[in-house]
Structure formats: structure tokens, C-alpha cells
Subunit: 275 residues, 2 copies
Amino acid sequence: MVGEQLIPRRRARCCSDEVRCEACGLYALCRTAGLENPDSDLLDRIVARHQPVAKHEILFGAGDAFATVYAVKSGAFKTSITPDDGREQIIEFHFAGELLGLDGIAWGRYPYTARALEPGSVCAMSFDHLDLLGARFTEFQSHLIHQLGGRLAQDQWASTLARRYSAEERLAGFLLSVSERLGAHGFSADEFRLPMSRDDIASYLGLATETVCRLFRRFQAEGMVIARGKYTRLCDLDALRGLFPVQAPGGGAVIEVAAAPGVHALSAAGGGRVP
Amino acid sequence: MVGEQLIPRRRARCCSDEVRCEACGLYALCRTAGLENPDSDLLDRIVARHQPVAKHEILFGAGDAFATVYAVKSGAFKTSITPDDGREQIIEFHFAGELLGLDGIAWGRYPYTARALEPGSVCAMSFDHLDLLGARFTEFQSHLIHQLGGRLAQDQWASTLARRYSAEERLAGFLLSVSERLGAHGFSADEFRLPMSRDDIASYLGLATETVCRLFRRFQAEGMVIARGKYTRLCDLDALRGLFPVQAPGGGAVIEVAAAPGVHALSAAGGGRVP
DNA sequence: CGTACGCTTGACAAGCTTCAACATAAGTGG
DNA sequence: CCACTTATGTTGAAGCTTGTCAAGCGTACG
């Protein structure tokens, strides 16, 4: 009997730094596994919740056997690979509410290393004992397919972004993307802490650290942002959108779909919007 | 009763330009739908096989409702979007044996346009009547999850490639990727026809057409490739790998996994290799 | 056989990286 | 709590890669 005690949908700190379950990428999967039923301990056998993670802690390493999908509850992570030349290449950043490790499903191993950018917590869903789900397994898969499909479209987009655009456009696109993703999970969309270093941003965008620095300075001189260290405020979203005019397809769709109740992943075209 | 007549696993032209079913990305899904049983017409109600496609023909357009996943049987396709500025941006190329349209699953619409680069044929799997699969639906989903996971890892990789590397490295990586993908589906890995224009390659790699031209010429001058128009021969794979030292993760894994019999998608860590 | 499109090549300009030096912030031990 | 050390961030100048513009060439297709 763990029940509500371990599922604090609304914690004391309402505007806490921890994402609500309803806004988490794992929500649909957890719900399938019995989240809605406090008496069921099925969920607890599949999902280890609220695991604290220290800064710089490694969640999984490149090549580790795939067994778990993580959801970031609070804090932020980076995924990266380190080729032979030793220079770390950032693959993606992962903020509260987003999933980590899905890419390992096909290969059976995680293709990159996941490391915490700051202290935080995760929920860990074990994929080893999904047979416990029984009849719910099919529904579970449907939600998983939705998650994968959404990530696929998002990554195609990020890939295209990186190829086509100039340094200025990339940084604008990056800031807008962070803003949108934080906003989609219930955090402030125009004022936040960028938990990663300038080096990480540069690696992610395929630029030199110095270029990122200069661009932050220029954006600030032009009144578009205020950047003091990791603290970042987007003052003029429209100006940033002017620099990066293309809207990401399905940016927030992952969440909408995942949170929509009763969606049949393979036939529904997005389902209804979450109020 | 169509049976074997419509499933020519070995056509008259053994080394035909058409990929074998066993090497096709849809194979595991087709098998689930009854490919192994010639008497079953279930497959025919779900998959429209060997549809001819003319050069430049559009398979689906950006924004069209998602209903079908295509497998390229022969020929090649490009997927692209055309933003407001009117300049077409290539998202990805798709060769024989590869899937098209998976990205539409989450959004319910195809996020880009798919167009034939040359005359070819496709198999079209309708996602509207999957309820026909009945008890096999779960297995079907497992294979689908594998496909999605594989594509996810591959796209992460392509994205990273585009960001980090110089023009020279990108073209080397591109040629190696084409080589590997063609080889994985039973075609020659060091001598092939590049069906797309230099413009398309440039757009895909985020370079100017002229840069791609100059690089082809330089590669040829250095004896790494022979390029006469679309005909391409990779003479020195090792030299190319020297330019682009990082191995793509799970490059051929999609096929291996999809073709492996009886793999349970969510638990198997890659399964056995296909002989 | 002719025309149109794609491909190739050259000259120049711009943007970004690299290298180097310095400033600031974050961590560490006395 | 402060001084020291190390990592991270910022700024400037020089050079190289790549894009842009312009023109000529080859080839494919009607």
C-alpha cells in the first residue's frame, strides 16, 4: 500500500521544480501500468519513482544494455558520445518531463551516455518485466509507439535545423526550443536557468564556444535576451522568432498525445487536446 | 488465392534491382500479417504490394493524413519540406528496403513530402485496418517499435553528423552511409548509381551545390572515388573512413532486428544475427 | 537535333574557427 | 571565511573554410 503517498500529484510546493506527473512524458505509460489505481502495486514493480540524481552523475553509459526508460522529474540531463578524438559531442538536452533512453530499444543498448547537468530526480521504468502488464501490454505499446513517433519527427526536425541554418539562427532556434519545451511542461517559457555550459551549447549546435559567447552578447546588445551566466531571460520572443521563422512540427505534440486519455496510438490522428 | 504468385521471393532476375522481401524493412510486419502463409489473404488486405511509382511522382505530401507506411521495393525516394522561402530542404533519402512515412504516426500527418527520385515500386501497408490482425496486433506493434527505435537512433546520428563535421567529412560520411545502407539490403556497397542530384545532396548535407561539386572532384583527384555523373564508385573505403572515423550506431541494426524471427521487440537486446 | 537543366569551375566576400590573452565564477583546502 | 586553484566565460585579431555570384560546359530528354 503505497498509493497516493508516493504519487504526489500536487506537492506542497505547487510551483515546484519537479514536473507534475500529468505533464511527464511517461504519464501515459504509467497510467497504463496502473497509476490511476492507488491500490495497485503494479506500477511500483515497473517504475522506480523519484530517484535522486547528483550533479554530473551518469544515468547510463554509451553501450550499456538497454533495460530502462527514464523520465526526468527535475533537473536536466545531457546525452553525448565521445568519439576517438576525445571531444565530447552533445546529442541532446533533456529537461523535466522528457524521456531518456528510448533510443536504446532497437539496438538493445544505449547509443550514448546520459549525464546530469544539475542535481535532480528521475522516474525509471524497467522494460524487463513488462509481462506483468498482461492484457494492458498492447495499450502500453500503443503509447510507446506514439512517444517514439513524436521523438522521430522532433529529431528529424532538429537534424534539419542544424544543417540549414547560420550560427545566429541556430542559437535563436535553440533558445526558442528550450523555451517551448519548458513551457510545455509547466515552467516559465521566457525566464529560466540554462543548466548547461556554453561549451555544451556550442557542441550541441555545432559551433565554437566563442561564437556562442559572442552571439549571446549580440542578442543582449540588441535587447532580445538578458543573459547573466546561466540565468537567461528572453525579452523579445518575436525578434527571436524573426531570426528563426520556422515552427517545429509537433513540438508539444508528444505531450498532448501522451497525456490524452484513451488514445489508440496507431489510428488516432493526434486525438483531442488536453484542456 | 493470390499466394506465391504475388510474393515472388526470388524473381527471374535474381540480382534484380528489387529488394528481396527478407531484406525489406517491412518484412517483420508483413510476416506478422501472414506473409509466411500463402493461403491467407490477410496480408493482401493490409499490404498493397509492388505498386509502380514514376519518376518525380509524389507518394505523399507534407500535411497529408497519415494512413500508410511504405517500403521502397526498388528505386529511391527523397523526403523534403519546402519552407516559406521556397528553397526545398531535403530531410532524408530512402533506398530499396527502407521504410517511408513512419514519422507520421504521432502527429497523424506526414511531416514532409516524399517524392520518387527515379522509377521504382513500393509496398504500401495500410494502418487503417490493423484490427484485422486480431491477436497478432501485439506482435505487430513490437516489430513496429523496433523499427521506430532503429530510425530514432539513426536520425540522432545523422543529426549529430550534420552539426559536428566539415564539408569534407560530411560528404565522406554521406557516401559511407549510402554504401552501408545499400550493402545492408543486398546491393553493391562500393559501386552504385546516386539517384539524387548534386543539389539534393547539398541540401541534405547543408552545403552549397558548388561545394559538393568541388569535393567530388577533390575526392576523385585523391583517388578515393570515381564519379561520372550519377555513377559512383568508392575506390578507397578506408580513406573515406579516415575522413569520417565514427561508426554509425545501429546502421544495419534495423534490418537485422526486423528480419530476425520471433524477436520480442521490448525485451530482446538485438536478438541473433541473421546469417 | 536542339534546348534546358544540371553540373562544373573560378574569383571574391563573408562568416566562423582558431589561437591567445584575460576576466570571472566555482570549487577546495587551510 | 578567505586565499588559492581550476574551470568556465569573454574579448580581440588573423586565417581558413565555405557561400555567393557569374559564366561556361556537358548531358539528358523531348
